[in-house]
């Protein structure tokens, strides 16, 4: 074992829940997790080597083979593909002299990655833990030149040398446009110490009752009533309880939690402290997606300031847990597994986290936006919040707008707003379709759905709002979304692991003009099986891109179907059959000559 790895291990408790932190330190030191390092970690934590690798190989930012001095991850979201992704991809290959998916060089490893939460500034890429946005071939050239010269990614992205724990640094990297100020979010700073002390003076039951009366529902997307979740956790037996903030904002198209963590981190942390008082928890975890690692130092400083102000540290404190690249960790039980240093595999339910969560203890997991709303509700009152929105969907929510519109960015909208109103506000450009709630949501037809409302009983938006105009190829977009689910399925259950591959292949057939009518019937039937039988929300929603576009835009499919070709059945692909034969003959000939 190298001395570097020995030093890293000594810096961590021999505690399995620290595994992801240790793997990060090793990768930062060596560029990858070698077999020797894995053996050292296994020894330190009392695990088998393969068990260490079981965790390491689950997350796409961990590498078990050399991956270059700088690991470059280019976001391959559909929004990037609308803004020059291909040119940037080629420029990266050209300037680094390496290939995506290839072995890389001593200096560079090139990787594609799913949405990095910067749909307002695509194309975007991560280099180590720094982000670069609005890329062009020219800017890529300058960045790679700088790296070759020996500059660090941070020096290149931050030539002014702003301190990494300052909001100006995060702002310089991401330049988030927030178009609204209030009523619930982004309405200026407040005296959080006074707010928390007012809450602490209330009984926990009264705090929970206030949240229940406000009608607040989880803003991560599932919409579970927050007050009920807290009540169940408070009632669960055990004196050790946890509050976890889900900042694994992985749904492609969303970036509103990034904006909240940038501009209102204390509103979020104080929301966690209020929840802790409500349920009786002493420890909190902010699970921060690895794509947002550039926020870590800044958030850590916010925690220090809150401790100095007496808001944290006395009875309740929060630590930051960095993820390592896995969409599935947005599922609350997968997130808990990841916090425990394991693969992000969703658990079987019941039991639910409110009874059996982190380390088997009662745990509340809420989204960043939910905790921010909690602070505001406790400040302004349940009645004030409940008066916003519509019955059943009270208050407001943030939406992350991207795609074909003049003003992408963050907007706060009252529940009940129509799709048409949102499209007007964001100055949508000739919109044909809106993908609401990301790939797991629904593809809406602007012509048919413009008067539908954002509400839990109609369009239960999770914050992602991607606009597509009439020029976009929706089949390509569906194919991209299905590839996303193939890449991000954890693989624990059959329908999601195998079924999404089959569905992806079918969309490929349509895109290639080789599908027939029965392929569409298969997609509906197979999509239903995947959705009904999968273990968690990922598989339950992954067929949505296909199923919702087949309903809303049947023409995009039927226009590409293969028709009957003379005497031949439409499913008989004469060209493929003949090429297949020639290919087989060529392969056999090569084998015979051996």
């Amino acid at each position: 074992m190298t001395s570097g790895i020995a030093t890293i291990l000594i810096g961590h408790e021999p505690d399995r829940t620290k595994l992801i932190d240790i793997l990060w330190d090793v990768q930062r030191e060596s560029g990858y997790i070698s077999a020797e390092a894995a053996a050292g970690i296994a020894d330190w934590l009392g695990m088998s080597v393969e068990d260490v690798l079981e965790t390491a190989t689950f997350y796409h930012f961990f590498h078990t083979t050399p991956s270059g001095r700088h690991r470059i991850y280019l976001s391959n979201t559909v929004i990037a593909k609308m803004h020059g992704y291909r040119e940037v991809y080629e420029a990266l290959e050209g300037y680094t002299g390496t290939r995506f998916g290839g072995p890389g060089s001593a200096d560079f490893g090139l990787f594609e990655t799913a949405c990095v939460g910067l749909s307002d500034h695509e194309p975007a890429m991560l280099i180590d833990d720094v982000v670069f946005t609005d890329l062009t071939p020219a800017s890529v050239g300058a960045i790679i030149k700088g790296l070759k010269r020996g500059d660090s990614p941070a020096q290149i992205a931050n030539p002014a040398g702003l301190p990494r724990d300052d909001v100006a640094y995060v702002d310089a990297l991401t330049r988030t446009t927030v178009h609204t100020a209030g009523p619930v979010f982004f309405c200026g700073d407040t005296d959080y110490s006074a707010l928390l002390h007012r809450c602490l003076a209330m009984t926990p039951e009264d705090v929970i009752a206030t949240i229940s009366e406000s009608g607040l529902r989880g803003l991560g997307g599932a919409g579970f009533p927050t007050g009920n979740k807290w009540k169940f956790c408070r009632a669960a037996t055990g004196d050790e309880k946890y509050i976890i903030c889900n900042a694994d904002e992985g749904e492609p198209g969303t970036f509103k939690d990034r904006a909240l963590l940038t501009y209102s981190p204390k509103q979020v942390f104080v929301g966690m402290a209020i929840a802790a008082h409500g349920v009786g928890a002493r420890q909190g975890i902010l699970y921060l997606r690895a794509e947002y690692a550039y926020l870590r130092d800044y958030l850590a400083r916010q925690l220090v300031e809150l401790r100095e102000d007496g808001v944290l540290g006395d009875g309740f404190d929060i630590r930051i847990q960095l993820g390592a690249g896995a969409y599935i960790c947005g599922d609350e039980t997968a997130l808990i597994e990841s916090c425990e240093g394991k693969r992000g595999t969703p658990r079987l339910k019941p039991p639910f986290p409110v009874e059996h969560g982190f380390l088997g203890k009662p745990t509340v997991v809420n989204n960043v936006e939910t905790f921010a709303a909690v602070s505001r509700i406790m400040q302004e009152g349940a009645g004030w919040f409940a008066a916003l929105g519509v019955p059943g969907s009270t208050g407001t929510r943030l939406i992350s707008v991207a795609g074909d519109c003049a003003a992408p960015g963050i907007y706060e909208v009252e529940w009940g707003v129509t799709l048409r109103d949102v499209l007007d506000v964001v100055a949508a450009d000739n919109p044909r379709a809106v993908q609401i709630s990301g790939p797991s949501g629904e593809m809406l037809s602007v012509a048919a759905d413009a008067d539908r409302r954002l509400a839990y009983d109609d369009l239960s938006c999770n914050g992602s709002f991607m606009v597509f105009n009439h020029e976009r190829d929706l089949i390509d977009i569906v194919g991209d979304f299905m590839q996303f689910f193939v890449d991000e399925s954890c693989g624990i259950c059959v329908p999601c692991r195998a079924g999404n591959v089959l569905l992806r292949q079918k969309v490929g057939l349509v895109a290639a003009g080789r599908a027939v009518r029965s392929d569409l019937d298969d997609m509906v039937a197979w999509g239903g099986i995947v959705a009904q039988t999968s273990r968690c929300g990922l598989g339950a929603t992954s067929p949505n891109p296909i199923l919702t576009t087949l309903t809303k835009f049947p023409d995009i499919y039927s226009a590409r179907l293969r028709e009957r070709n003379g005497d031949l059945l439409p499913s008989f692909d004469a060209e493929a059959e003949l090429t297949g034969y020639a290919q087989a003959v060529a392969e056999l000939a090569a084998q015979e000559s051996l």
């Binding site: 009392g46 695990m47 088998s48 080597v49 393969e50 068990d51 690798l53 079981e54 190989t57 689950f58 796409h60 896995a326 693969r343 079987l348 339910k349 019941p350 193939v486 890449d487 991000e488 399925s489 954890c490 693989g491 624990i492 259950c493 059959v494 329908p495 692991r497 195998a498 079924g499 999404n500 591959v501 089959l502 292949q505 197979w526 099986i529 009904q532 039988t533 999968s534 273990r535």
Partner: protein, 237 residues
């Protein structure tokens, strides 16, 4: 607490909170399973035990029964869904039953017969999977792995409790791994237990192939359904 549930229209009494697969079996209703073992916690990975519970599809190995629950097993759409999941497994891996030494005692094959599978409705994927022969007494035939996780969860180093088998990678790229050092410490009995716990022909004992003649193999003398419905067979082997 004693409760009453309804399975395919028949009233069944049980203790609250028991696992639906077990309750159904005791009432004479077979629900196919691949990953479930009655003596162990549910894994919920294969989903082949999907049934309708109060109208919604759920994996019966992960359902705790409660009073008034209405369960549909013998319902055409759900039965076809179970069959589809078995077919999906056959198309996902490389399952050549005639040449597999686990044939006749393979649970996947037996369940395939039980759900009336003839051929997979899904296109065969023919994945390239590499076998692993590194351990002294065990080889892994990855072509046949269905990622049920039984070996991962239930076969541990006797001394330290460490995992011997594990999964690497994610999604369709996942594969089963073996910790050779720990595997080489396994006793011959534990090796046979690992072979036996594998529902397919992935974990195999070196030097012990084709030891049961055709006609005497486990599922040739008693169907997987009859075994599941017989209490003495359900617990232990």
């Amino acid at each position: 607490m004693t409760i009453r549930i309804e399975i395919d229209g028949k009233t069944v009494t049980s203790e609250e909170g028991r696992t639906l697969v077990d309750v159904a079996a005791e009432a004479g209703v077979y629900i196919p399973t691949l990953c479930y073992l009655p003596e162990h916690p549910a894994l919920g990975t294969c989903r082949v035990c999907s049934v309708k519970v109060n109208g919604a599809v759920a994996a019966a190995c992960a359902v705790e029964v409660s009073d008034g629950m209405r369960v549909e097993v013998d319902e055409p759409e759900t039965a076809d869904t179970r069959k589809a999941l078995v077919e999906m497994l056959f198309s996902e891996g490389n399952h050549n039953c005639p040449s597999c030494e686990k044939a006749g005692r393979c649970t996947l094959q037996a369940v395939g017969y039980e759900v009336d599978m003839v051929v997979s409705r899904f296109p065969y994927q023919f994945p390239q999977r590499v076998a692993d022969h590194a351990a002294d007494a065990i080889w892994l035939e990855r072509d046949r792995c269905i990622f049920c996780q039984r070996c991962v969860e239930f076969v541990r180093d006797r001394e330290t409790g460490k995992k011997i088998f594990s999964i690497s990678g994610r999604g369709a790229d996942a594969r089963i791994e073996i910790d050779v050092e720990l595997a080489n410490k396994m006793s011959p009995e534990q090796v046979r237990e690992a072979v036996d716990i594998c529902p397919v022909g992935t974990i195999l004992e070196k030097g012990a192939g084709y030891d049961e003649p055709i006609g005497e193999r486990r599922y040739e003398v008693e169907s997987v359904k009859d075994r599941a419905l017989e209490p003495s067979r359900r617990h232990g082997k």
